[in-house]
Amino acid sequence: MNTITNRQMVFILFLTLTSITIVTIPKDMAEAAGVGNWIPLMLMAVLFGVLVTVIVRLQKAFPGKALYDYSRELVGKAGCYVISMFYVLYFLTVNVYLANSMAGMLKANFLFETPHWAFIAVGIPVFGYLAYHGPATVARIFELYGVIFLIGMLVVHVNMLIQGDLVNIRPLVVPSEIGRALGAMDKTIIAFLGIEVLTVMPFAKGRKKAPRVAFLTLIAVGMIYVMVVETSIMMVGLHEIKYYEYPLLAAIRQVELENIEFLRRVDILYLTIGLMGIFAGISVVYLALVEYAVKLLPRASRLAIVIAAGILVFILGLLGFGIPDFDEMIVNVITYSGLAAAGLIPIILLIVAKGKKRA
């Protein structure tokens, strides 16, 4: 049985969305929105909550099937191929972005001498191994990792809440800056992209509560982002946070749990638990890439596709390091194509499905 449960869906959404963006988002939001950063985050959470219910309703209407399978029924073979190709290219881009970001973050903060290519070369086989086993295995891994990640994150952020300076995030709302906050919403799009991985996760029959659960999950993710951003600003300071490329790590490094002697410094929590979240996020995107590629190339073996995808991500990732402003470019590409992948295409398919009385 290759279907996922509601609980698995919650953890997939949670870990995929917070994968790597959770480390960089405090800086982006502090720069773009200042103290009112929670406004664009919560608004975007609601918007993406609506989009995720669209995807979930589609998956629910076609139990046991992924988007490739039912898009074929809805828009025909040609339309299905176009959509699938788009998703393949999109997930490939996201994969490259995530792999490069992970390598960059690890090199800048933990393993200074290790070359970029080594991170990706060693990581890709592991993510590929996970993706090779299919959605059911990935979903179960998320169930395990999600709980550990959530608990670790709560421990860290509650301590940041206690040790941080509340003054740094006040006032919570500045009426004159609401416009600025709303203008920062485009910076938050990438933080919520990841819901489109649900298109490769078949749902079982029934699952009446799935859309509501998915919507509430997105709201929860929004609140988690708000907590992360606010606690990071509390620890580091609103003006200072802009100078760090990975502000969450800078904030975590300032937390000390005095009562826990040798584990006083919480870096170790992030090194173990935080990396779990990143790996989970990259793996599920890799899985999505493989799932679409497998459907497009039915004659090729799954193993061959996993290996080919890994090699492609590795090569493109290395090329990306050589291009100036590569990160900015790729973020722009992902932002706009992500809106299509997570929003436009599922909405169109849902409309067609409703027209054909399938949803």
Partner: protein, 373 residues
């Protein structure tokens, strides 16, 4: 069979790849564990001093008896920070490990000349912990470190412990390098760096250096600065001796609340600090029974004296140094965020009206007190 060969090839490739690795492997015993870094400005440029924990060594024998490691101080100087750092590294036979730095110490020379440049270096170095304490010293670096070696202690840890214990008793104000960087980034914020000096051969805190941006604006002795923490709203209990008739009564005072009211009208900023303290009588020089009248009189006296103390602190910050290290700008920012953006705080702060009022609630505490029936 074919799939099996592919899997084996992948595994072999990964093993070969891994065997080229270990780029970041650096065993801890091959690093110089640096507990304190001192930065000084010299005539020719800058100087770094690094205190390194020397290891007695081995898994058995002396070190297992728990003896403190001796320290070793290396220093290097140069025209720029880069040259000074290179000179420092040349002194060391192992890699200097900065993640263990407990204390960053600045001499007064460099404080008065400006530490902004160094702070930018510090910020960009991921190895440094931003939670390292910061201290200033008027002593010569050689004197400071040699005093520590006499006692076979580590200067970094000694300064840390001294400051921490004073923070617990409310006598000192705790500042980390992360706080310094935050203050540097915020144009309105001043800050205080605890200053240490040698008393005999011991390290003692003797006051604060008043800082704005990266430059020192002055010095506050510890006696004059001991209530700064309370104006800032932090509240460890402190002991206060108050003369009463021919007696001397010691009270324990705890700050209950410290709300700051802000008003901004016609370009005039007004702050009103209404502090409420809980005081408990601890002991007195001569034993006598307290009555309600005496309690009331002591209470009023306490209020007057504490008000005067806190007003002096505000006056020093506003008028003497013109640096807002008492964080009034934060209260103004919270209540008037739009006006805050338009005001030049450096000019406006000294002109602000700050009213300080202290109310004391006096309790019997340890002393014999019979309230009127």
């Amino acid at each position: 069979m074919h799939r099996h060969r592919i899997k084996i090839s992948i595994v072999l490739f990964l093993v070969m790849l891994l065997s080229t690795g270990c780029w970041d492997s650096a065993d801890i015993e091959h690093k110089d564990i640096t507990t304190a870094v001192l930065i000084d400005k010299t005539e020719t440029g800058y100087a770094f001093y690094a205190e390194i924990a020397s290891l007695v060594g081995g898994g058995t024998g002396e070190s297992s008896q728990g003896s403190m490691p001796r320290s070793q101080v290396i220093h290097g100087g140069g025209a720029t920070f880069v040259e000074a750092r290179e000179a420092l590294e040349r002194q060391s036979d192992q890699r200097i490990y900065l993640a263990s730095v407990q204390n960053v110490i600045f001499t007064e020379t460099i404080l008065y000349s400006g530490i902004e440049h160094y702070l930018y270096r510090f910020r960009q170095n991921p190895e440094y912990r931003k939670r390292a304490m910061v201290a200033a010293t008027g002593e010569k670096p050689e004197d400071l470190f040699s005093a520590a070696s006499e006692h076979n202690t580590l200067v970094g840890l000694a300064i840390n412990d001294t400051i921490e214990s004073l923070v617990d008793t409310g006598q000192l104000y705790h500042f980390t390098m992360g706080d310094v960087l935050e203050a540097l980034a915020c144009p309105c914020k001043g800050y205080l760096i605890p200053r240490v000096s040698l008393v005999g051969q011991d390290v003692a805190a003797d006051g604060y250096c008043v800082m704005y941006g990266g430059i020192c604006k002055g010095y506050i002795p510890i006696d004059e600065g001991k209530f700064i923490v309370y104006v800032q709203g932090k509240a460890p209990p402190f002991h206060y001796a108050i003369p009463y008739e021919e007696n001397s009564i010691t009270v324990e005072i705890r700050l209950k609340k410290n709300p700051t009211k802000v008003d901004y009208r016609d370009g005039q900023i007004k702050f009103c600090l209404d502090m409420v303290c809980q005081a408990d009588l601890l002991y007195m020089k001569d034993d006598f029974a307290m009555d309600a009248a005496a309690m009331e009189e002591i209470e009023e006296k306490l209020e007057r004296q504490l008000t005067a103390e806190f007003r002096n602190i505000v006056h020093a910050s506003q008028k003497v140094y013109g640096v807002d290290y008492l964080r009034f700008h934060e209260a103004f920012h919270i209540h008037y965020p739009d006006e805050y953006k338009q005001v030049d705080w450096k000019a406006a702060y000294p002109e602000a009206e700050i009213a300080v009022d202290v109310a004391v609630e006096l309790g019997g505490g340890n002393i014999d007190y019979e309230p009127e029936a």
